[in-house]
Amino acid sequence: MNGQPCTTCGGRGAVANAATGSPEPCPNCESYLSGTVGLPFWYLFSQNPANPAAFALTALQANVGASVQIDNDSDFLCDRIIGSRTGAYNAYLKDNFSARLLSPSQNVPIADVNFVGTAQLPYWLPKPWLIKRTSTVQGFFTDTSGAGNTIQLILAGYKVT
């Protein structure tokens, strides 16, 4: 993004089809809604990333795996962590692309209240976290509420190329 509008579409992100006149994505630029640059996105942790959904833990269930898989179309810049749940839980996260752990030990998972916020008051990352396309972030979740626990944990941010 150099601040200059695309010379093909004038920065509009779409052009008229020469034959039909119908709008279609601009073939020259990657402006919003024709490409993916800057597209806000929400990635959910799921036990089946191919078909993501909120997942549930039974009472005191430990080390249940769930992951996020980044789409192939763009890298993802995560700038905040958002979530909701029906009971307290601990989590342990790992960036599978770099095999880097995001907390010291699986034996010392982090309580959700210490790394997750809501849309109103998200947990802002000190620096945005670039996650490569197609890579996965793995999480292991342990219920501490003593009751069934439905969790929706989200990496929020936007797509980048």
């Binding site: 920065g11 509009r12 994505p25 936007y158």
Partner: protein, 132 residues
């Protein structure tokens, strides 16, 4: 001097504009309703935050119907309302303002998460109209 005003002079693009999606989700724990929002054709829209209000918790799945682009991973994984928007005093600020071309149709699929009466939702895209 102009930037001190919340609203532009007549015949200029509004400096504040709110596009509401206001479906009433029918009674039922898994009731679903699709709401299509057609953006005005006078100006493009610079979208920078999301606000919402509701009677009951719900999930939403947003997509750009004009271009067939989703804003979330899967219709099977709609986002809970508390994870995508807040009230006006604490909105969800987009990481970067998003420019949406005029005339775009955004489609939201709203689904109830709990049983109860009809769920009146007002899910608002907030920003300003811009002319380019």
């Amino acid at each position: 001097m102009g930037s001190a005003y919340a609203l532009a002079p007549p015949n200029a693009a509004p400096k504040l504009y709110i596009y509401p999606m206001n479906p009433v989700i029918p009674t039922g724990a898994a009731s679903v309703i699709i709401f299509d929002l057609l953006l005005d054709s006078d100006y493009d829209f610079l979208w920078d935050r999301i606000t919402e209000s509701h009677n009951l918790p719900y999930s939403i799945y947003l997509q750009d119907a004009t271009r067939g682009r989703t804003l979330m991973g899967s219709p099977a994984a709609p986002i809970f309302n508390e994870n995508i928007a807040g009230p006006g005093r604490l909105p969800y600020w987009l990481p970067k303002p998003v420019l949406i071309p005029r005339g775009t149709i955004l489609s939201g699929t709203f689904s109830n998460r709990v049983a109860g009466g009809a769920n009146t939702v007002v899910f608002s895209l907030v920003g300003k109209k811009v002319s380019r």
